[in-house]
Amino acid sequence: MTNFGPFWRTARQSPPPSALDARRASRTTLIVLLGPALVIYAAFMIYPVLRTFWNSVHVIKPHNVEAFVGLANFKELLGNDFIFWKAVGNTAIFAIVATIADVLGGLLLALALFSGAPFVRTLRLIWFTPVLMSYVVVGVIWVWIYDYDWGLANVILRSLGLGSLEQSWLGDPRTALWSVMVTHIWKWLGFNMIIFLAALYALPGDVLGAAELDNCGWFAKLVHIIIPMLRPTIVNLTVLSFIGKMMIFDLVWIMTGGGPLWSTETVSTYVYKRAFDWNTFDLGYPSAIAVLWFLIILAFIVALTRLLRQRDRLEF
């Protein structure tokens, strides 16, 4: 017979389960508890989303006059708008490359700390600090670093005798997007590192210990044990990172404003420009861009989640 001992006694002394079960709370209690949050959510999330869908099939004229145009905004967007396609290309490159770099980099940093590298606490602090900084601060710092004349990047190149490699990093369409990407990765690497580190410390010690007893090498342990067990974390970080980068706005806006020659234009910066910079009050066209992009992101997320979903649950 199983010995339930102390647990049984505690359970018997607790109130009956029905009294604590949130699913059995009265309707009034639920309304009181959930109501304020739901009202705020509806006002600031659901309504704007529905309104954006509505706007996307209208031309919005001043004084709330709306003219239904069906899919005309989408046709214009897909057929004639070269800036949109440029923005789509840039965002795709950003989302794919930076996501891989973010996740892989975060994992490597976490492994370095997990494996007991010296100065673990200091390194963890240094690598995590950029996460705590606002995009504005990060953007301004890196614009200075990339400055042609006095920026740190070119100063280092010159001091190493590599002056021929100096660049106007943010001023050249060939390097601008990559330069912004480096900044973004620098900012978020620490976040991924911390998540991976937490996941690594949560791995069952007996599995890792058994592998060591079996003379499993460090690399084999990493490939055959650690990474498979980290798979849910990797999937979650990849999806979150991908979503974030598909919507990248602030850093690009601060560092380049989408230039030069639209080489760093992202879909989000383009939506903002069409809504607020193009001498028009029509929110229909920018809404169409936002709706289309929302659907594309959604499709990618579904595909990505299915692709990376683990078919067989690990047991340990």
């Binding site: 004084h63 042609y148 106007s168 001023g171 050249d172 001498n279």
Partner: protein, 428 residues
């Protein structure tokens, strides 16, 4: 039960609070003003003085000024005005024509004392016979230069202060050879400074009528005269006219680059430059003894109007058509537009204005500068407004990306730039 009791108590508290608050006086009015340029102390002091004067003249009126940076102001206005909200008085610039077309600005013809405003400045804000804005700031496009560096290069400014296009190119090459940056300019945070040289050259080459057509889609960028100007500008770019960090240098940094470190020969800029430069050195201003000179933009070979010059209106004020206090809003704008305030503007902001100001002679530390600036206006044939006032949508965006940035930044050939501008702007 507890919930109902709580709600009833809350209602009682609110009701008591409402009853206890003092009744609003009939004359109590808060006039909301949204404006840009919080970073320019002299303009802040100017507008706050006008608010104080209005409050003194109208007891019970309180002026609440909210200061914005330009982009957040635009975003706030574009959401507030369509919702029937927003300020009573708002900062506007002449290229924000969508506010007029949308009917968000009240016609000011019967509200403002137009005797105090220059007719040419009022004309900038006149659409279909009605006036929608009161111009406060006016400026002309000039090339500022360092007199000492020009002398060092052994070059003398012509009597009319205008080089020919080949002399100007030679000057750029000479400065570059001497290790001096010829033109301090950057487009890191503005969509227009990189196009000063190119735009003014186009104005002189084409004359006022064709220049306007170019920006409004009536003249192709493939016109041989336009191509000639692009080719000349390309020669300047290839000669190293602009700094290497042109693409990322910000407006304020380009000023500092010109008069401090590392120093440059010329700075093409609107004459509002001095509003930022004539502040104490410890606030980033130009050194008191800086040898500042003003020259004309170069004359183009075969130019249709080499005496032409861009004059534009900048900071202006308008009244929200949904305002319930239009009369008091107009009073506030009138309070900023008296001849005394116009004089004060010139003497404290160091800038031209659309307000009629009785300033016959200049005094003070910058008197010589103002005398020289006025000298450069003699015989000028003004074109009112710039490319950003005349273009919209894709053409405006292409102006910022191509003519302001990529072309002077050396990223595009003449053919590529012409093709891109034509695709975005020409309606033929």
């Amino acid at each position: 039960m507890i919930t109902w009791r709580f709600a009833a108590a809350l209602l009682l508290v609110i009701a008591f609070g409402l009853a206890a608050s003092p009744p609003a006086q009939a004359e109590d009015v808060t006039l909301n003003v949204w404006t840009h340029e919080a970073d320019e102390d002299a303009k802040v002091a100017f507008r706050e003085l006008a608010a104080k004067n209005l409050e003194a003249a109208h007891p019970g009126v309180h002026v609440k000024i909210t200061w914005y940076e330009k982009n957040p102001l635009l975003a706030a206005l574009k959401t507030a005005l369509p919702a029937g909200q927003g300020p009573d008085v708002l900062y506007v610039e002449p290229d924000w024509t969508e506010y007029v077309e949308a009917g968000y600005l009240a016609p000011l013809d019967d509200l403002i004392d137009w005797n105090n405003i220059e007719p040419w400045a009022r004309a900038v804000w006149t659409f279909n016979g009605k006036t929608y804005g009161v111009p406060q700031e006016a400026y002309t496009n000039e090339i500022y230069y360092n007199k000492d560096l020009l002398k060092k290069l052994g070059v003398e400014l012509p009597a009319n202060a205008q080089f020919t296009q080949s002399q100007f190119l030679d000057l750029v090459k000479k400065a570059k050879a001497a290790g001096i940056t010829p033109i301090a300019q950057g487009v890191g945070d503005r969509p227009f400074p990189g196009a000063y040289i190119l735009g003014e050259a186009l104005l002189r080459k084409l004359g006022k009528e064709d220049y306007r057509k170019l920006w409004t889609g009536g003249l192709s960028f493939e016109d041989p005269r336009v191509v000639d100007v692009f080719k000349w500008t390309k020669e300047l770019v290839d000669a190293g006219a602009y700094p290497k960090n042109f693409m990322t240098l910000k407006l304020g940094e380009s000023h500092y680059y010109f008069y401090a470190k590392p120093g440059a020969l010329m700075l093409p800029m609107g004459s509002w430059y001095t509003g930022r430069a004539f502040v104490p050195e410890d606030k980033g201003g130009q050194p008191k003894d800086f040898p500042l000179g003003v020259m004309q933009y170069p004359a183009m070979d075969g130019g249709a109007c080499n005496q032409c010059k861009t004059s534009a209106v900048g900071a202006s004020f308008a009244i929200n058509s949904a305002s319930k206090h239009k009369d008091i809003a107009a009073e506030f704008i009138n309070a900023m537009s008296t001849p005394e305030m116009g004089k004060r503007w010139i003497e404290t902001v160091y800038l031209q204005t659309g307000i009629k100001a009785d300033v016959k002679s200049f005094s003070g530390p910058y008197a010589a500068y103002f005398t020289e600036l006025m000298e450069r206006q003699k015989g000028a044939d003004y074109f009112i407004g710039g490319p950003r006032d005349l273009t919209r949508g894709e053409c405006k965006d292409s102006f910022a990306q191509v003519m302001n940035s990529a072309f002077p930044g050396g990223l595009l050939s003449v053919d590529q730039a012409i093709k891109m501008m034509n695709a975005a702007c020409f309606k033929g």
